[in-house]
Structures are given as C-alpha cells and as structure tokens.
C-alpha cells in the first residue's frame, strides 16, 4: 500500500517541487551581487547536471554492474539500465543547453573547450553510443551484456568531470555545494531553493524512469505475445 501510494504521489510531488523552484527562483529569491538575475539559472543548471551525472548515469552504471554479475543478472536490471541511460541522455543534453544559455552572457561565449565542458560532452557521446549499441544487437543477452560493459567504461568519465575543475584550470566555476573544504558558497533562501530544485529534478528523473520502464515492459510483453502468435500461426499453416 505504501508502495502504491508513493507511486501515485511521485508525479504530483515532483510537479509541486518544480513549480516551487520556479516560483522561488524567479520571484522570491533576491538577485545576486555580481551576476544579477542571470545567476537565477543556478536553480536549474546544477540540479540538472547533478541528475545527469550522478543520479541517472549512476543508476544506469549500477544496474549494468548488477547485470554483469551472475547472481543479480535479470531482465529487470537490464531494463533499468537501458531506461536510465535513455533518461540520462536527455539530462546530459539539458545540462549542456542550460550551461550554454548561462555561459553566453556570463562568460561571453556559448561554448568553451575547457575540461569540464569537453568531458561532459564526451559523456553524452558515450550515452548515445550505448543506445546505438543496444539497437545494433538483436540477441537480448548479447545486447544487454555489451551495453553493460560500455556503461561501465563510460562511468570512468564521471569522476573526471567532477574533479576537472580542481585538477585543471578551467573556465567553468568550481563547486558551490560539494566544495573540497565542505563549505557552502550559497546561503539563506537561495540555498533552500537550490536544495528544493535538486530534490525536484531528482524526483523528475525517477518519474521519467518509471514511465519509461513501464513502456519497456509493455513493449517486451507485446513482443512475446506477437512471437507466440506467430508461432501458433505457423503451426496452423503446417498442419491441415
């Protein structure tokens, strides 16, 4: 019952949190000292990037690792990996788009080939390659296994993206929340709005994942049913 309730509430709660983020971010929170109203994108871009790198890609990576381990290998885990990676592609693209929208007036350019941006673009390419690789294989087990291996390889890039602003000199700013000295660089209602946006976008991922997973289950069921129907048809043709 709790599970059903939480599933029913996931969509509405996500919507409420995102609307709250929008309201607080645009109208309630004060503007910023240096960047003015431009930096209100801080309530969107970091949360989307957090979901892209850690939540969705992390889910896909963990599910892929579970698939490769015999004890936990199952169609469910494979579906989770596939669906999470699809959602990850969406969030990675949104990260790059919102970053560009912020970068143009802030930095003065839409794009810069610095370590953070380049490594994020590489992650997006890996995610797209995962989806292409799955479509390239007809055998379900082979498809799942090859995709899982690629996902784990791609996951090496995630800590590179995270630490790029510390390891190298980058145009992209350093961390505001997950700073090396664990100090927060945003305070008051702005920090609370940022937290709400992180939770809202994280729940959005889980809502999208659930919807996509249900679609995948229906697709698999339809395939199995059509295969069974085709076999029955063939048997009927053979015996008269």
């Amino acid at each position: 019952m709790i599970r059903q309730l939480s599933q029913r509430l996931l969509g509405p709660v996500t919507l409420v949190l995102l609307v709250l983020t929008l309201w607080l971010g645009l109208w309630v929170t004060p503007s910023f000292e240096v960047q003015g109203n431009l930096a209100r994108l801080v309530y969107v871009h970091p949360a989307i990037a957090w979901v892209a790198l850690y939540v969705s890609f992390g889910t896909a990576t963990i599910a892929s690792a579970l698939y490769l381990w015999r004890r936990t290998r199952s169609a469910v885990v494979d579906r989770v990996a596939h669906c999470a990676m699809e959602v990850s592609v969406v969030f990675i693209i949104l990260t790059l788009i919102t970053g560009s929208i912020w970068g143009r007036p802030a930095w003065g350019v839409w794009w810069a080939w610095d370590a953070r941006l380049t490594s994020t673009a590489i992650l997006g390419v890996f995610a797209l390659a995962y989806l292409a690789l799955r479509r390239a294989n007809d055998d379900p087990e082979l498809r799942a296994r090859r995709g899982a291996v690629l996902a784990l390889l791609a996951a090496i890039n995630v800590p590179i993206i995270h630490f790029s602003v510390q390891w190298w000199k980058t145009l992209h700013q350093g961390a505001t929340v997950f700073t090396p000295d664990h100090g927060l660089k945003i305070h008051g209602i702005q920090a609370w709005t940022l937290l709400i946006s992180f939770i809202g976008f994280t729940l959005l991922f889980f809502w999208l994942l659930r919807a996509r997973y249900r679609l995948e289950v229906l697709r698999d069921e339809r395939y199995a049913a059509s295969l069974e129907e085709a076999l029955v048809q063939r048997r009927r043709e053979g015996v008269r």
Binding site: E33, A106, A115, N137, D138, R146, A175
Partner: protein, 160 residues
C-alpha cells in the same frame, strides 16, 4: 506439408547459421564512438586541459611564450577600465604582477572591475608587458551572494 495422422519425424535438424550482422554493427558503433571521443579530446583536452595561464605563470615564461596566442587569466584592476570604440583597455593583476590589456571587441555583459577574466590574445612583443586581446571571457566565481544594499555583517566580518 505435414499430415496430422502421420508419425512425427524427430530427427535432429542442424540449426541454420546465425547471421553476424549484430557483431559488425556493434563494431561500427564502437568505431564511431572512438572517432567522436578522439575528435572531442583533440579539440578539448589536449589543447585546453589547462584552459588559461595565470599572469605570474605567463610572466615567468615570457621568453618561451613570445607572441604566441594564449589565454591569460587575471583580475580586472579597479579604476583602470577605459572603454573605447573598438573594445576596452584595462590593467589585469594576478600573483603579484600586473599586465596592461588592450582588448578588441565588446566585453561580455558581466565585465567589470575586480572580476576574474580570461583574455585571449598575445603579448605585443617578446619583451613587452602589454597584452593585445581579441576576446574577453569572464570567469565568474562559485560564490553566490545575494544583492542587499544594507547587508548586515556578522561579528566575524562575514556577510550573507
């Protein structure tokens, strides 16, 4: 065509050879992936792993840099900005040293005094401390402080 009344033939049948399309398509996907990653790496990380030189780094390697195009990072010194019809000139400081920048093109929206900037350009000569810039990028910090005209300071001097 099978006869429903005839006995079934249970002789094992050899499976038809499986097509190897999937394998070749996988190789194709991985080849495209490798090419894309190499292209991004060559554009990005190999040329821009360290996106800029700081002023003290640049000044310490002046002889090696010459008039090569680099990205120079520093903080815009207050009361030195002069906006011209073609761009802006200002002094930039960093690591205890200063460089005079003459930049062409409109500076970005956030360009102002006391802000970190990255200027793309080159020193005017191998020994000069003047930097000729073709582009100014603003490198904003990770701190987000609210705009409050009458902000109250905490006893330890910090403001929120």
């Amino acid at each position: 065509m099978l006869d429903a009344d005839a006995p079934l033939d249970l002789t094992p049948v050899a499976a038809p050879p499986t097509k190897r399309r999937g394998r070749w398509r996988s190789i194709g996907v991985l080849a495209v992936l490798a090419a894309a990653v190499l292209a991004l790496l060559s554009q990005g990380l190999l040329h821009s792993l360290n996106y800029f030189e700081t002023i003290d780094q640049a000044m310490n390697s002046r002889a090696a840099l010459g008039t090569k195009t680099i990205r120079l990072e520093g903080i815009v010194k207050a009361h030195t900005i002069v906006r011209t019809s073609s761009g802006a000139s200002f002094w930039m400081k960093g690591g205890g040293q200063e460089v005079f920048v003459s930049a062409h093109g409109s500076p970005p929206q956030l360009f102002q005094a006391n802000i970190p900037v990255v200027v793309v350009g080159h020193f005017t000569s191998a020994t000069s401390d003047k930097f000729d810039g073709t582009q100014i990028l603003v490198k904003h910090t990770a701190s987000y402080i609210a705009q409050h005209p009458k902000r109250v300071k905490a006893p330890n001097g910090t403001t929120r």
